[in-house]
């Protein structure tokens, strides 16, 4: 009996390990490949890029998947960081799009969530329900209104056309309200009795209580926008302003050597956030878990 249990435990661990390898492989491969030299990369993957750009040519070359570079070199990084400012510029584009969105969205959401938390009248219940519906709408539906507003206000083709709608996305309002509902009301009442103003209660009692929630929501919002593709394609026509997420896909044969290094650099911010805040992230996801209540 005990033997059987050990056996099934081993089997389960094996399954988990197989999945873990499958989940880690793409990330690890990208990182290890970024240390390959230019010549090694073109030898292995050159075929892919030539076939991508010219679909008529028949692919005869082999594509070798390599895990470990023959010779570890930082040449790719050297080129990206020092010799081709284009990529750094696109990286910077990503940063100046995403950072304001994260900060403003969380800030505005914190205010709104506090309001939802303190008062639960009919109007507020309706508005909250409406936010949930809005949150569940596919992006394609929301993109058309965004485009129209950008056109009317003349913001089309400027970064604000992405940042402004991003600030008001209802997702973090929804999540933060759920977090705040767990703050004991007695805490607020005590502050009230001590004569604190609403603003003071908000900044000194409420926000410190949900510090971890703010962090986890900021991470979730960050990943979402760090990954954006649809918005720049529709709202920006000037490719100079494209974030790296879109620009990476336009890499061509001449730059194979750089592709992996750029991809690695691009995932560093979110991986760092993940390693630092995994617990918060899990908590944030857990609380996003039910739409009702």
């Amino acid at each position: 009996m005990i033997k059987k249990r050990y056996f099934s435990r081993g089997a389960l661990t094996l399954i988990a390990a197989v999945f873990a390898v499958a989940f880690l492989l793409p990330t690890v491969l990208t990182i290890t490949n970024s240390f390959m030299s230019q010549t090694e990369l073109s030898a292995n993957y050159g075929a892919i890029f030539s076939s991508l750009n010219d679909s008529s040519s028949f692919v005869s070359q082999r594509v070798n998947l390599k895990f470990i570079p023959d010779k570890v070199t930082f040449g790719q990084y050297f080129t990206v960081l020092l010799q081709s400012p284009d990529y750094l510029l696109k990286f910077w584009n990503s940063v100046i799009l995403v950072v304001p969105i994260v900060l403003l969205q969380v800030g505005i959401a914190a205010l709104a969530a506090y309001s939802f938390f303190r008062y639960q009248g009919k109007f507020r219940t309706f508005v909250f329900f409406f936010y949930v519906i809005l949150m569940l709408m596919p992006y394609q539906v929301m993109l058309v209104p965004n485009y129209l507003v950008a056109r009317w206000t003349g913001l089309l083709d400027s970064r604000w056309s992405i940042i402004l709608p991003g600030c008001f996305a209802p997702f973090s309002v929804f999540l933060l309200t759920k977090f705040m509902k767990r703050i004991p009301v007695s805490l607020i009442e005590a502050a009230r009795l001590d004569g604190a103003s609403e603003w003071r209660i908000f900044t000194r009692v409420c926000l410190p209580q949900c510090r971890s929630a703010l962090y986890s929501i900021a991470i979730l919002v960050f990943i979402d926008y760090w990954n954006m593709v649809e918005q720049p394609l529709v709202l920006l026509s000037d490719t100079e302003k494209y974030p790296l997420s879109v620009y990476l896909s336009t890499i061509n044969a001449g730059e194979v050597g750089l592709a992996f290094a750029v991809a690695t650099i691009y995932m560093i911010p979110s991986l760092l956030l993940f390693l630092h805040g995994e617990e918060y992230l899990v908590e944030g996801i857990t609380h996003s878990g039910s739409v009702k209540g």
Partner: protein, 311 residues
């Protein structure tokens, strides 16, 4: 007694009658401030989403933005007869119909796997969750390497005697995208299921053990029952994410993919490019309606099966 007793309720109605007195109450004035906290968000949502959406509903009913003639459902009928839209809608529906159930079932499987007593549980959780943090653009290269005509996947399949498949230019094009979608989203769903699994009352499961219930019975009758709100939520979430899969497809195949992965977003992008407002707004309205209907159905199903479960 000369005067009627002043009860709290009498005081309240007095205050209500003389509304202006309330304004002097510092407490009420302060309440006004925190009520106003909602406004920035509400105004933003109204300006950027709700009002333009109403305009879009209007646009979808008129012939063009210059003449403003009502044509009612003509735009929708044109849209439905448009072959590109039909292809896009069909592909999107097909993709969601395959990817969403897979995302739910596999995530539930992974969560159940981590519930078992296996070593290195938290490490496994980290591994499963990590794809969520990797920008799609970064791993697209690897996907292209793996699914290339001469790539690793075809080499692997060749071991089993399967012929080479040109993944991005054949009927199999959705496979690579579905795998990328699952890779990216399973972790998030798994965390949701893990939380739900740990919320199932232990005594109920112990009771079932004592009464001799088999593992299958326990899973179907107890766990699934308690999981039903989470299953609903994960389904909705995966559905939304499956609409977002355009990202992956765009990054993998560019503007003009093979027909099988021509999705609604591609269609919308083309409509944006040609500034065809009628088509665009009709498509957006149609999608919104479809989404509301789907969500309503899912809520209805969940209501019938998990009535006595706390959300």
């Amino acid at each position: 007694m000369k005067f009627p007793a002043v009860t709290p309720s009498a005081g309240k109605s007095l205050a209500r009658r003389f509304g202006k007195w309330r304004r002097w109450d510092p407490y009420k004035k302060d309440q006004w401030i925190s009520k106003a906290f909602l406004w920035p968000s509400l105004i933003g949502v109204a300006v950027f989403f709700v009002l333009p959406f109403l305009v879009i509903c209007y646009y979808s009913l008129i012939n063009n933005p210059n003449q403003h003639d009502f044509v009612f459902l003509d735009n929708f009928i044109n849209l439905i007869h448009n072959s590109a839209f039909r292809t896009a809608a069909y592909n999107t529906a097909r993709f969601s119909a395959v990817a969403v159930p897979l995302a739910v079932i596999l995530a539930l499987g992974l969560a159940a796997l981590l519930e078992c007593r296996i070593p290195l549980k938290s490490q496994f959780r980290t591994f499963f969750l990590s794809p969520m943090m990797v920008p799609v653009a970064s791993v697209v290269l690897i996907w292209q390497v793996l699914f290339n005509y001469n790539g690793a996947i075809n080499d692997f399949l060749a071991v089993f005697g399967v012929d080479k498949i040109d993944w991005f230019k054949s009927q199999y094009d959705q496979v690579a995208v579905i795998l990328l979608f699952l890779w990216k989203n399973l972790g998030y769903n798994m965390i949701l299921f893990m939380a739900a699994l740990s919320n199932i009352p232990r005594d109920l499961l112990e009771m079932a053990d004592i009464e001799g219930a088999g593992p299958w019975f326990k899973f179907v009758r107890i766990k699934l029952h308690f999981l039903s709100p989470t299953i609903l939520f994960v389904t909705i979430l995966s559905l939304i994410n499956s609409f977002k899969v355009f990202r992956e497809i765009y990054l993998l195949t560019g503007d003009y993919p093979y027909e099988g992965v021509y999705l609604l977003q591609h269609f919308m992008n083309n409509a944006f490019a040609s500034l065809d407002y009628q088509r665009l707004s009709a498509a957006a309205v149609l999608m919104a309606i479809a989404m509301v209907i789907i969500i309503a159905i899912l809520f209805y199903i969940e209501d019938r099966f998990g009535k006595d479960v706390e959300g």
